[in-house]
Amino acid sequence: MNATFAPHAQVGPATPAPAHSPAISMHGVTKRFGTTVALDDISLSIPPGSICGLVGPNGAGKTTLVRLLLGLERPAAGTIGVLGLDPLRDALALRERVGYVPDTLHADRWMTGAEVLRFCRGLRRHWNDTLATRLVDRLGIPLKTRVGSLSRGTLVKLGLVAAVAPEPELLLLDEPMAGLDPLAREEVVETVIAAAPDRPWTVLFSSHSLDDVQRLADSIAVLVAGRLVHHGATDDLLTAVRRVRMRVDDALPRPLPAGVDVYGSQRSGREWTLVIRDGSGGAIERLRGLPGVEVLGVDPLSLEEIFKHMARAPSGRNEERSQS
């Protein structure tokens, strides 16, 4: 099964439009809180059956985006379709089919884990008891302890069970891994993978941990200051972005040749380092061809480094930072 989608920024070869209607579809969505613009003209399309990682610095709008999908916020502009439904008009029908894991489960603190699950089960039409029990055992959740006494890790796990047991078609996770110890993190990741029903479900999770995003996500959406600066396949991103080390005799010719889009550049005397958006398609050859320029090396970057560059220079403007 190939995850196909229309990337926001074209990276690598163009991909065809989705064959099935998207699980999540946002067009021109803007959200304001007073005068602050939380989300600015977001257009995003996530096909069913894929896992999308939503990354971005704190305050970039990730939580707001997820809340819009659940119908918990009203957009100032734009349209949103989740599983083919309008989150505001068809909120109830939608929430039956969606599982949501918030970063902090705010269930009443006097409720025990068992009571929380029983409460959620009562409010839902569909609930898989066997799955819930299996997950509780596997994750080691103490069901008789009150929510107020549970550690953050256990709280996340409880929220995960409550969201997964109804076997939703869409799973939304808001920073599920934040503040968890490495073991708990692994358990959460495993659970999300193993709980995937036989009929494919769609997962959107926001995370700071790029390791987890790289493992889990078919596609990555990058939010910076309310704008979607990138949406594309994880692997495409890793194979496209390159760091080019060059020796430049005099000066780097400006403007750079067409097709060489730069996230950032650094200079130390004659040595230049450019981080370019797409190392395929001849950009490196074009750089090699510049007079007085010798390409010393071309290296791939980790997802973390790519993300840092995106966060700093989201529009791909050429930036120069001189050292020494």
Partner: protein
Amino acid sequence: MNGFDQLVWREWRRSRTMFFVALGIIVALLLLVFSQPQTPPETAGGKISVVDRMAVVGYFATWIAVHVSVFLLPMIAANSLAGERADRSAEFIAPLPVSRSVRLMAKVVLLAAVAIALWAPVLLVAPLLGNSQLVKADDYRSGLGLLGMVAAFTLLATALAWLLAGWVESPVIAAVGAIAIPVAVPWVMFSLQVPFLAPASFFSLWFDSEGIPQSLTLLVAAAFFAAGSGLYVRRLE
């Protein structure tokens, strides 16, 4: 309705402590009353039947219960609507497939159940008292009338708490405001001697046959209740 029992259960658990504290206060006040040497039937002299004894206890108990409800019901109402925003448990329920109207109904059910628990005994005790030798018919009728006015006032304060709690986030502010405002209003009117509207005395606005008719009190209460409900249901959370 899906999970309505779970919703009502939750509302009960959230109000449980307040309810039992109120019960404790009722019992304590009752004991206090019966520890006084002046309390009938000891001073009545002659033979007192068991039924009459029960009637007297019932009289005091229900009288205390109705007056305690003046405070308890607004507090439960305020906690019901504002408390879940203050402790953020509303955020837990918001993404679940249940409409805000249904959530509101569960809150109304719980509130009504508590009100009935505190007021219904009056209906049981009243016939006993009516037939009792201990109570004069006039006292009995005016006593019931007064209780009726207190109940109407309580409905007003509760409905005001309902409205304030749909609006502010602090249950304490909503509850205090709900009880204080209907008391402050006649006080201000009385102090300023507002023409036509000034009550004859501080309490008479709500508790006098010359004061505001009970039907108007109930009408205002209904308006507050509707407004509060509307605020709650329209919120997206």
